[in-house]
Symmetry: C2
Subunit: 456 residues, 2 copies
């Protein structure tokens, strides 16, 4: 941008209070949870309540060639909603309507509603919205769709993309498109709905999503296993997934166990090298059979302790412990949060390799993982006041992505590329896929106004 | 095309026999199962065996601006692989390799392998590839991916798109891209894998797919219900899906029951107004509970006869009867085959509306449906020698799509738009989505060489 455009017309065209230019408020919208130190300062914050208001914002941006960052709840761990100097920050936080249709088992939702609120609204009508990022209580459904977010139940129930039947988006030129709908099957035209899921704000502003809901999940049984070594635990994961599809299969290493125990004091085994938390929600004897398979897989791979329960309350305590790992580790220092994934058999070498990087770079790396689908979150801990440690953490961050790529994996399983990982994307997908990506981006947003700095 | 290009260079650059210009052989490749009378005659048929050979073909086409139609097994019911005058017909029939990886539970498959062959190869390794179009014994996996094909088990297990983890494609300019991979979760970059699924050959030639496999399906119980009226049967469908997610829920009306009985002579009730065939594959008591729910839903909606069996053989006979419906009805005359879908609660008005169209246009319309997901196949029967009846059938064909659109549904649930339905696509999705579709097509294939005449 060569000159600053005053948003007077935008302020005039939107309801009073929708456009905010107060510096203190803007400051709170500069960063997301990735805490990018290079975050810019937006020209203005806009909080529309309707698709029509989003159109007004996008049209104004298009007319004045002002870039626009879309932000849900600001929980991006990869810098997907970090502010850009002189750009509009469009927050969807006031777009919070939901309409549950029990006949079609769908929810039509505005993007600002939190994942937990979607789940709760569905549950009130006896239905279930499965995707469950660990941050489900604080992340928005729009952000979930924009990043194709995952969670703990993905191993059996799939990603956000698997639940998006349709959506509405405002394109870069201000036009509104409605893609897909309430029907479960639709092969009419290109798969544009799926293209917009995971597009990280690059192709349009998502203003509404139609989500598929399921009948309620059956009550789950939980199996917890302690292992002396990380390696044994990752072998146990393979032994489980070779036989069944558990409803959850989560991994914590010693550093994360201890961080959680420091915070929650729930009696976790601080000496364990790794902990696995698995669930089966298969009903009746089928569930009992799955629990037995999981127990045996744990025992045959050297578990020092195995605990099984069909009490949902007890099970939820362990799930909550796993969910608490990121905030618990965050209390030990600043975090660089990885999201690397590999084909399942590569899980042991990935976890071994992360340990080697931790040793070589002399930084603490706590590892948690949605182990059942090969998606890991190495959490690199560093003291932001220690410049040398910060540099070593940065090196480790890159080396872990290099490692995942070398194992045939991905730099991001569920958080998106954002700003923090974009330097590694070409290494994973290659120049032709980068070019294809840019071709589509340029075709849909020729002036590059939507979420600049992200992904490309 | 203004002048005819001789494929000499193409013949020289490919192995002997890969390029065919024999008129008799070309004639056999003009039409697919849609039997479009306006099919053209290709310049040449090319049957490559490798990605590199596909590249040679696409590069030659790009250099000489010769269009290219990609064809799998030629079973398209919407004209997706119909020949174009002067174009290259690229058949993938000789690209038949498959590699099953039990550790990652994936299959890496060339596009020419048949769906049934993928299923069989997976089963040999104790795994299951769910998608099951009725034509699974004769349709290619490449065609399945290009149309996002469905089938009978979709109601519980999803579409082809849900099983495509990665793919390789040759772009219009001859470059090869590899999208996705064997990992279950991957949020790195735009969802290009999903964009190519269902793209009907418009964006590239798919040369390899990586498919997700599941543990084997549990043995299924089958419930068959006879109903006096179509309306009662469609109400029974809603009563089932309101409570459970069956593994199959298929519908046949009287005309299709009788056509199948004429062909198979298996003792179906010729006087029934409609037949439902449902399955549960939930294990043990959960399965028994589902069977009971289905039986009760049938009885409470006026079933005249309900038959349940947990003998897989007996169940398969009814599934086979349902699968035989299209060839059975085809023996009565030429077919115009619909694939319209609606949100489930609109199923009864859709089926009623089709009956009204049948009466108004005085043509036989047999209706079968993947009723559990609202996807119906009205089969319009006509005598091709009767010009007036042919015209009335054509009118009915359009009116059924208009009806589906008016009910908030889709003109195609699983067959793709192809040539036969493209006139109705704008009515369903609107001008802005058509424009968005064309924008992406033009960005990826600026000379419009890939599958011209299809979809756009």
């Amino acid at each position: 941008m060569t000159e600053v455009v005053a948003p007077d017309r935008l302020i005039a065209d939107l309801p009073e209070g929708a456009v905010v230019t107060d510096a203190d408020i803007l400051a709170a919208y500069r960063q997301d949870r990735a805490q990018d130190p290079d975050a810019g300062t937006p020209l203005a914050l806009v909080r529309p309540t309707s698709t029509a208001e989003v159109q007004t914002v996008v049209r104004w941006c298009n007319e004045h060639r002002v870039p626009l960052t879309t932000r849900g709840a600001g929980t991006s761990l990869s810098g997907g909603s970090t502010a850009v100097d002189g750009a509009i920050m469009l927050s969807t936080e006031k777009m919070r309507s939901i309409d549950i249709d029990t006949a079609t088992r769908t929810a039509v939702v505005q993007p600002g509603l939190l994942n937990a609120e979607v789940k709760a609204a569905a549950a009130e009508k006896g239905l279930w919205y499965p995707p469950d990022p660990s941050s489900f209580e604080i992340c928005s459904i729009g952000g979930n769709v924009a990043t194709n977010a995952g969670g703990l139940c993905c191993v059996k129930y799939g990603m956000t993309a698997d639940y998006v039947l349709g959506l509405e988006a405002v394109l870069a030129d201000g036009r509104v498109v409605r893609l897909g709908g309430k029907q479960i099957k639709d092969s009419a035209g290109l798969s544009l709905t799926k293209l917009f899921v995971g597009s990280e704000g690059l192709l349009g502003v998502i203003t509404e999503v139609t989500l598929r809901l399921l009948p309620p999940q059956a009550s789950a049984s939980t199996v917890v296993g302690s292992f002396a070594s990380v390696h044994q635990a990752s072998e146990a994961v393979l032994a489980v997934t070779a036989r069944i599809r558990p409803a959850m299969l989560e991994f914590m290493d010693r550093a994360s166990i201890n961080a959680v125990e420091d915070m929650l004091k729930m009696g976790l085994d601080r000496d364990a090298g790794a902990l696995l938390v698995a669930q089966s929600d298969a009903p009746g004897p089928a569930g009992a059979a799955e629990v037995e398979i999981i127990q045996r897989a744990f025992e045959e791979n050297g578990a020092t302790e195995v605990f099984a329960t069909d009490d949902p309350q007890e099970g939820e305590a362990f799930t909550a412990a796993r969910r608490a790992a990121i905030p618990a580790v965050e209390r030990k220092g600043s975090l660089l949060l990885e999201d690397v994934g590999v084909p399942l058999p590569q899980l042991p070498p990935l976890i071994d390799g992360v340990a080697a990087i931790s040793e070589r770079r002399d930084v603490t790396i706590a590892v948690i993982a949605h182990a059942g689908d090969g998606n890991t979150h190495p959490l690199i801990v560093f003291d932001p006041a220690d410049a040398d440690e910060h540099d070593r953490a940065q090196l480790a961050f890159g080396e872990i992505m290099d490692l995942a790529i070398s194992l045939g994996g991905t730099i991001t399983g569920e958080h998106g590329v954002g700003r923090l990982k974009k330097a590694w994307l070409p290494d994973q997908v290659g120049p032709d896929v980068m070019d294809l990506t840019a071709t589509i981006k340029n075709a849909l947003d020729p002036h590059g106004l939507l979420n600049p700095g992200v992904l490309l």
